[in-house]
């Protein structure tokens, strides 16, 4: 294969120069390795809430970056880096994704106008990457991905004094990044408390590790396979809506089968008979299976009969589809806004919540929220689409803040991000929207209004942890007040009671209860009854939010 030429160059004993094609391969290798470990990164979540999506966010960002150069023949390293940076910028989601995109942007800055790079260019680019990463956040915090990239850059500067070999420098960078990652819990107390290392830093280390593995001759096959099966395993976003809205084969099943003398054609034939969308690839010892079936037990049992089954992923596409269909189109436009007026672009997931934002005058609602952070590009496009030059963005989630700010920076429009952290804060802010007002003044009033409300959230713990003296077991109900974990337990009633107390409900006049998609109106009604029983002076308002993951979101004033 043509790529072989470059492969040889990369793994030659002395690697002095890196060109565009080599950089492309490195980026692909970083992506492949991150892909393999994204779930692990997700699991490194401090809070046991279902927003453990750092891995997913970084992966989607990296995919968007590599997607720009996947089939590129460009040899100019500066141009390839530029494409990577652009792809990452547009696909960036979540705070960690945005920081990753900043790192790629910094690297591109360092590689600018270079046809090939040497170790000095690399060190310089790492320096730029660290600088750009720090510049991407308002208040840089140590013990995060920022520390990891900064120490990596320091190491690069040091390593070029000792060798001109790019491989040597990369090895040193990776080693130092790993060490910095190990120390993150010492720098950030919350990590120590939760007993984890920083997830964003880990994601970055996986990317560098993948690159180095490639340099050492690994990952070749994964990279080829990624290209061939990448689409088949794409999320349900690509599903067409079937007649009647019901999928014939609702379960998406994926697993890896390891065994001896596996007959791939036979396996493919068997699996294909069970359902549709079959992808069976591999060799006689390892086979990757992907199929849509009615009964996920069938392919799994079949796999177990042949060997060892690992990496099992089963997803209910019917539910995913209903999710997506229920929320289509992702960006909905409504309230008319005239040129010169202020438009609001709000991020919310759940049809009910989207409707509420629209009813209060939001011009566009970008679908997204917990565990489903919209990309910079989606927010950017929503801002671009509203027919006015003045736009206020409400992220309504602390993990969507940076993507919103990145979208703002891409725009030529006058954009202000009002940093709302929760849905009730966003709704509270909406009430102070004055479409004809001064942009800065209106944004300031909206930011102030967000502080009027106290947010309570009830969801299910995704893992066991002890945090802020709250002991949580996986699967239990947990309650958060203004994003902080405050109570946990197996029983909704008790968790609610505790949560209401922490929200100082006795001093409140009104509480709005937005119930999620997994909750029936009857169940929600019972919650309202409970609140009214305990706090007869508080007015309770019940609204169908339709949000995923969070059974209840409460806003109290």
């Amino acid at each position: 294969m043509q790529d072989g030429i470059y492969d040889t160059a990369v793994i030659s004993p002395k690697w002095l120069r890196c060109n565009g094609q080599q950089l492309r391969k490195l980026a692909q290798a970083g992506l492949v390795w991150l892909e393999k470990h994204a779930q692990h990164v997700n699991a490194l979540n401090v809070f046991p809430v279902p927003d453990g999506d750092t891995g997913t966010n970084m992966l989607l960002t990296m995919r968007s970056a590599v997607g720009r150069i996947q089939d590129s023949q460009e040899k100019h390293v500066g141009k390839v880096a530029e494409e990577l940076a652009h792809g990452a910028l547009m696909g960036a989601r979540g705070n960690s994704g945005v920081i990753l995109s900043q790192i790629l942007r910094g690297l591109a800055k360092g590689f600018k106008d270079k046809a090939v790079i040497d170790v000095f260019d690399l060190a310089n680019a790492f320096h730029e990457a660290a600088e750009t990463a720090y510049g991407g956040v308002m208040r840089p915090v140590e013990g995060t991905i920022l520390t990891v990239i900064r120490e990596g850059a320091d190491e690069a500067a040091d390593a070029v004094e000792k060798s001109r070999d790019l491989r040597f420098v990369l090895e040193r960078i990776l080693e130092r990044c790993q060490q910095a990652l190990e120390r993150t819990p010492d720098m950030l107390p919350i990590l120590k408390q939760a007993g984890v290392i920083d997830s964003g830093g880990q994601g970055l280390v996986y990317i560098f590790e993948g690159m180095l593995r490639y340099v050492h001759g690994d990952l070749r096959e994964d990279m080829n396979q990624q290209q061939s099966t990448g689409i088949a395993t794409a999320p349900a976003q690509t599903l067409a809506v079937p007649e009647g809205g019901t999928l014939e084969n609702p379960y998406d099943v994926q697993f890896i089968l390891a065994g001896q003398n596996l007959k791939i054609d036979e396996v493919r034939h068997h699996i294909d008979a069970m359902g549709d969308s079959t992808v069976v690839v591999g060799d006689d010892s390892t086979i990757k299976v992907h199929v849509h079936v009615q009964d996920p037990g069938l392919p799994l049992s079949y796999g177990v009969s042949l060997g060892v089954v690992t990496d099992v992923v089963v997803e209910n596409m019917q539910l995913q589809m209903e999710d997506i269909v229920g929320q289509l189109p992702a960006i909905e436009e409504v309230a008319t806004v005239e040129p010169g007026e202020i438009a609001v672009v709000a991020v919310a997931s759940g049809t009910g919540l989207a409707q509420i934002f629209r009813s209060l005058g939001a011009t566009a609602v970008v679908n997204g929220g917990q565990a489903n952070n919209p990309s910079t590009e989606e927010i950017f496009e929503a801002i671009q689409r509203v027919p006015t030059e003045k736009v206020i963005v409400l992220p309504n989630n602390k993990n969507i803040l940076l993507a919103s700010e990145a979208a703002r920076d891409l725009c030529l429009k006058e954009v202000v991000v009002v940093p709302t952290r929760t849905i009730p804060e966003g709704i509270s802010a909406m009430l102070y929207l004055n479409p004809n007002g001064d942009l800065e003044e209106t944004a300031a009033a909206m930011e102030m209004a967000a502080t009027f409300v106290t947010t309570g959230e009830i969801t299910r713990a995704t893992r066991s942890v002890t945090l802020d003296d709250v002991v949580v077991s996986e699967g239990e109900m947990i309650g958060l007040v203004n994003g902080r974990l405050c109570t946990a337990g197996p029983d909704l009633g008790n968790v609610l009671t505790q949560l209401l107390e922490k929200m100082e409900m006795a001093d409140r006049e009104l509480v709005s209860v937005y119930y999620g998609r997994e909750v029936t109106p009857e169940e929600a009604g019972a919650v309202v009854d409970q609140i009214e029983n305990y706090y007869p002076d508080v007015e309770v308002e019940l609204l169908a939010g339709g949000q995923p993951h969070y059974y209840y979101i409460l806003g109290a004033e």
Binding site: A335, L360, G361, L543
Partner: protein
């Protein structure tokens, strides 16, 4: 030289003051079902508000008939008025001004001058009082008109609504325009100024809407005239008056008035607010 002041009942000049200052009040109509009542004469405010929640279909309001104005103008002329100053609700918000204008055309011989207050309820009423007092003090019609014109821009009405239901049922408000939505409990604070109704604050609780309204009111102080207005909400009105006591001009009586059903039907029970004229330079 005798200048007579005419107004309509939706300007909310209290009857006792109207009698004292010799102001002629032309009643507007309130339609309840198929019945039409002359406001303040055939239908008492208290009774109307007590039943507002159960009226079905929802009551509507109508401007006085052209003939009613013509009759008043002719009667006053016959009684010796040399000039008639007819002061009314905002022409942008009500048909009353136009009915008065047509009435003046019918009453050819009557020397009528019309004035558009660009206000509603006591916002218009305070201008009527200004005119009546000036007329009693012997000012000329031109002087009075100049006084009124100059005060229109300084006159405001604030109101906080307790419920959006009435506004919704009365069908007078475009929801998209006000961004009030229909899903959440919202307590808007409204301001009427120069013939336009504007939502100046949208809040979730009465406590905060009262705070907001007082804060906004304060921004327009000191006042030449200030009054509390309410829709069947004497208790809230008293509370509001106490909290705004320092804003009332020295020596003025603390005027509190129940809002005419012609406007109260739209605002809904429990609405409270202020009518004010800021002090001039």
């Amino acid at each position: 030289m005798s200048i007579k002041i005419v107004t309509d009942s939706a300007c909310d000049v209290p009857p006792a003051i109207a009698a004292e200052l010799d102001i002629t009040v032309v009643p507007v109509y309130i339609n309840v079902g198929e019945q039409s009542y002359l406001e303040g004469i055939e239908l008492a405010r208290e009774e109307f508000y007590r039943n507002l929640a159960i009226y079905d279909p929802y009551p509507t309001t109508a401007a006085p008939a052209t003939g009613a104005f013509a009759e008043v103008y002719e009667r006053l002329t016959a009684a010796g008025a040399t000039r008639i100053l007819s002061i009314h609700l905002a022409s942008s918000l009500s048909a009353t001004y136009n009915a008065a204008r047509l009435g003046a055309e019918v009453a050819e011989s009557a020397p009528v001058t019309l004035f558009d207050t660009e206000q509603i309820t006591l916002g218009a009423g305070l201008l009527v009082l200004t005119a009546a007092e000036a007329a009693a003090a012997g000012c000329s019609i031109d002087e009075i008109l100049a006084m009124l014109k100059e005060r229109v821009a300084r006159t405001r009405v604030f109101g906080m609504l307790d419920t959006l239901e009435s506004l919704r049922r009365s069908g007078r408000v475009s929801w998209a325009q006000f961004g009030l939505g229909t899903l959440l409990q919202i307590k808007p604070v409204m301001m009427i100024w120069k013939g336009e109704v504007e939502v100046v604050a949208r809040v979730r609780t009465s406590k905060r809407s009262m705070q907001q309204m007082l804060q906004m009111l304060e921004a327009y102080s000191p006042f030449e005239r200030l009054a509390v207005i309410h829709v069947d909400a004497a208790v809230s009105a008293k509370q509001l008056r106490e909290r705004a006591e320092h804003l009332f001009p020295a020596g003025s009586d603390l005027l509190t008035t129940e809002i005419t059903p012609a406007i109260g039907t739209h605002l809904g029970l429990g609405a409270v607010g202020f009518a004010c004229i800021s002090a001039g330079d």
